[in-house]
């Protein structure tokens, strides 16, 4: 875990309204939890940036320290850590996630 990785992570988190750190890509997720996180974001019609941690060992390890969170995926909205896939699912089911995106003016054409 290098300072360089922390700086890169910080830049991605701060410069994108919605970022998902995941294993694989939205088209080809490499893990069931990442796949579930992508499905939730797509269902909500949220535009999001994704970072494939499998492509970068520094980020893969660094992201765990960045938010003191041991697992991937990790969702960030407006520069803030929201949670992993379980929290995303809970917030999706309760409507809180849709609200979060709406409040941030991020959802496409809310139904």
């Amino acid at each position: 875990m290098t300072d360089d990785a922390q700086a890169r992570i910080d830049a991605v988190v701060k410069n994108n309204p919605v970022v998902l750190f995941m294993k694989g890509t939205p088209l080809f997720p490499q893990c069931g939890f990442s796949s579930r996180a992508v499905a939730i974001l797509e269902r909500l019609g949220a535009d999001f940036e994704s970072v494939d941690v499998l492509q970068d060992q520094g980020v893969r390890q660094g992201i765990k320290a960045y938010s003191d969170w041991p697992t991937i995926p990790q969702l960030y909205v407006g520069g803030e850590f929201v949670g992993g896939s379980d929290i995303m699912m809970e917030m999706y089911e309760s409507g809180e996630l849709a609200e979060l995106f709406q409040d941030a003016g991020l959802s496409k054409a809310a139904e």
């Binding site: 003191d68 969170w69 041991p70 697992t71 991937i72 929201v82 949670g83 379980d86 929290i87 809970e90």
Partner: protein, 77 residues
């Protein structure tokens, strides 16, 4: 090496003494667990903090030997 459900529950309870832990074997293979952790001490904590408390109780195993733990936390009603 997969961790036994009992072992996971014991660690969580050791770290969060007032926790009720309900384990479910999701895939029937003893490796993909769901834990529902209810604790009065979660009151006032965000979901992220509640999950972090559970991960802390698991002492670094999460994301390591424990790859697949689906976690739900709640405050008793």
């Amino acid at each position: 090496m997969p961790m036994a459900g009992d072992e996971i529950a014991t660690l969580i309870k050791a770290g969060i003494p007032d926790a009720e832990v309900e384990m479910t074997d999701l895939a029937g293979d003893g490796d993909h667990w769901s834990a529902r952790v209810t604790a009065a001490s979660f009151a006032g904590l965000s979901r992220v903090k509640q999950h972090q408390a559970v991960y802390a109780a698991l002492g670094g195993r999460m994301g390591g030997v424990l790859h697949a733990l689906q976690l739900t936390t709640a405050v008793p009603k």
